[in-house]
């Protein structure tokens, strides 16, 4: 047996829904606009959650410690001899020097990431790394082997060609021979990469033979990362030591505020919508006043009328929330967030393929709920109290 309270609520809900249906075009319009606002907000949050998930999955494998050199507050190359300064630190498992730079391709405005790897030789393991092929590795003065990302291949317009040239700082050309490509599946981390031997990278950037930009340090006991990082910074003057913990913040910052910036713009839309809802709910048309008067005259109490308005608002906002949030999922899951990719991916020329998998996070759901349904309920139910006070004798 259904309790009386629930039966009452269901009766009033029936009336609320039929009342909404009577002005269906107007109410459908409200639902559509409201859904759109929720869709925009939810899409943002889902893109961020998808990015978060993607990066968090990967960033567990980042180096324990990265060591860079600073001078006058700016990063400069360091001499690989400083590796010897770290010999005395207990707990370091390995140190690899690296040249890590950026090559700006003026012909197309693309920025490539160049990694000069000291271990890049004939024993480079390609299996499992998603490198399509990696056979001969050439290290000569005339032509160097390189493994490139898919976006690099596209922007260099290589096609079937395997050789290309890049400019050194003195504008002489350095030749490369493509010995491998990172496959499409790894584009999220490899799309803009040119990985070569460290000497080739030094040659490309006009660096001295012993110069490196980073040292990659791995430690034996992960619990000691912070301690070892501190010792490294003490041993190398002016060094900047970045630990794994600091790296794993990754894109949360950029996309946190990018999505926050977008959300801030959307707040305007949400606020405008809520003000509109308040305005709509505050003024009763003569017909609406009359209806409230009739309801009260036939025995509906003020509380019943407010319950009616509450259920009307719930029906509208819940429908809009379901539709907007659902469409946001479709947008991200099946269309890879196509509407927001330009905003979140900036103005770069290189646009890696990105498969975003949205993640259902309670905090996102609550945020969207609090930003949409609660303000709408407040904007419609509070004025409803005023309209529910219509005296029946004034209208009937």
């Amino acid at each position: 047996m259904v309790p009386l309270f629930l039966r009452r609520q269901q009766n009033i809900l029936d009336y609320a829904l039929s009342s909404l249906w009577r002005s269906r075009f107007k109410n459908l319009g409200i639902v559509i606009v409201f859904s759109f606002v929720i869709f925009m907000v939810a899409s943002f949050r889902l893109v961020v959650s998808g990015l978060d998930r993607a990066t968090q999955e990967l960033m567990d494998s980042v180096p324990d410690i990265i060591v860079q050199q600073m001078a006058a507050g700016r990063q400069i190359p360091l001499d690989d001899a400083v590796m010897h300064d770290l010999d005395s630190i207990f707990g370091i498992a390995s140190i690899y020097p690296r040249v890590w730079g950026y090559y700006f391709d003026e012909s197309n405005g693309a920025n490539y990431t160049v990694i000069g790897d000291a271990r890049f030789d004939t024993t480079t393991e390609v299996a499992g790394l998603g490198i399509e092929y990696g056979t001969e590795i050439i290290r000569s003065d005339n032509i160097s082997s390189v493994i490139i990302g898919q976006a690099v291949k596209t922007h260099l317009m290589l096609g079937e060609r395997r050789t290309f040239s890049l400019f050194r700082p003195d504008l002489s050309l350095k030749s490369f021979r493509k010995s491998g490509e990172f496959n499409h599946d790894t584009a999220l981390v490899s799309d803009d990469l040119l990985v070569m031997h460290i000497e080739a990278a030094r040659d490309l950037f006009g660096m001295r033979p012993s110069e490196v930009t980073d040292l990659l340090v791995s430690v034996t006991n992960p619990a000691e990362i912070e301690t070892i990082a501190k010792k490294i910074s003490e041993n190398i003057d002016g060094s900047r030591v970045i630990t794994k913990r600091q790296v794993t913040k990754t894109y949360r910052a950029a996309f946190g505020w990018r999505s926050g910036f977008g959300l801030a713009c959307l707040f305007g839309a949400i606020a405008a919508f809520v003000i509109l809802a308040w305005d709509k709910a505050s003024g009763l048309s003569p017909d609406q006043r009359r209806e409230v008067g009739i309801l009260k005259a036939v025995g509906w109490q003020t509380g019943d009328v407010m319950t009616l308005r509450f259920w009307e608002s719930i029906a509208v906002s819940l429908s809009a929330f379901g539709l907007g949030y659902g469409l946001a999922w479709v947008h991200i899951l099946f269309f890879d967030g196509i509407l927001y990719r330009p905003v979140l991916m900036g103005w770069s020329v290189l646009r890696p393929p990105l498969t975003l998998v949205p993640v259902l996070r309670i905090e996102d759901l609550l945020l969207i709920f609090c930003l949409s349904i609660l303000p709408y309920l407040a904007a419609t139910v509070i004025p409803a109290w005023h309209s529910a006070m219509v005296r029946p004798d004034s209208v009937v």
Partner: protein
């Protein structure tokens, strides 16, 4: 279900420049099962008196008792409950919601009571049968004739089986035949023991055999009994 008004007064906008003394020194006693007609010209206070009896408004001073309950001291919530349980009000303008069907209009008072749809429909259909309007139950109220609208209003007023029926100028928009039909319906209700109070300046109503007593109002006061 006795009705008693003792020195009831009703002011609108008292103390302001547009103050209206709608009712003055109203003393009235109506027994259960009695049928009373209140006559008077427009602006004499008939509707105000009926609104007080119908628990739509409370008197400014004086004591109004329905079945021993002092209306003037009841908060709005209890007034509504009292109205729901005790009064069936047939309005002059009918006050039917035009976008709803006849059935939906009639069952409006039952919604907050939590009755199941089948129960509501059963009660409404019984009444509509009695009032010979069952064949129009699914029609939108906007498409009804004047007589059909009034019968819908009557059905709505009776849906809670109230002991007191109030009708404000019920024949104002009806022709003679429909007016007589209306009075027949009221007669049947009187036979079931209901108290009926009708305001009207239609002699067809005041002179009908239904009416036990006819009172005249003028300028907010009850004149002598006719």
């Amino acid at each position: 279900m006795k009705i008693s008004l003792d020195n009831v007064e009703k002011w609108y906008n008292r103390g302001e420049s547009n103050a209206v003394h709608a009712l003055s020194q109203i003393n009235l006693k109506i027994d259960g099962g009695e049928s009373v007609c209140i006559e008077g010209p427009s602006g004499s206070g008939k509707s105000t008196l009926l609104s007080i009896l119908g628990c739509l408004i409370t008197p400014t001073s004086g004591v109004a008792l329905i079945d021993g309950k002092p209306l003037s001291r009841l908060p709005d919530r209890f007034l509504t409950l009292h109205r729901r349980q005790t009064i069936g009000f047939i309005f002059q303008q009918f006050n039917i919601i035009p976008e709803l069907s006849v059935l939906s209009n009639v069952t409006l008072p039952l919604l907050p009571l939590g009755l199941a749809p089948s129960e509501r429909q059963k009660r409404a259909e019984e009444l509509l049968e009695k009032l010979s309007i069952a064949h129009r139950k699914q029609f939108l109220a906007a498409k009804l004739s004047g007589g059909e609208m009034q019968r819908t209003a009557i059905a709505r007023a009776l849906i809670n089986d109230p002991p007191i029926i109030l009708a404000d100028e019920p024949t104002a928009h009806l022709d003679t035949k429909l007016s007589l039909d209306f009075m027949e319906v009221m007669m049947e209700l009187k036979m079931t023991g209901k108290t009926i109070i009708i305001t009207s300046h239609d002699p067809l109503v005041s002179g009908h055999q239904l009416v036990d007593r006819c009172l005249r109002m003028r300028d907010g006061m009850l004149e002598k009994r006719i």
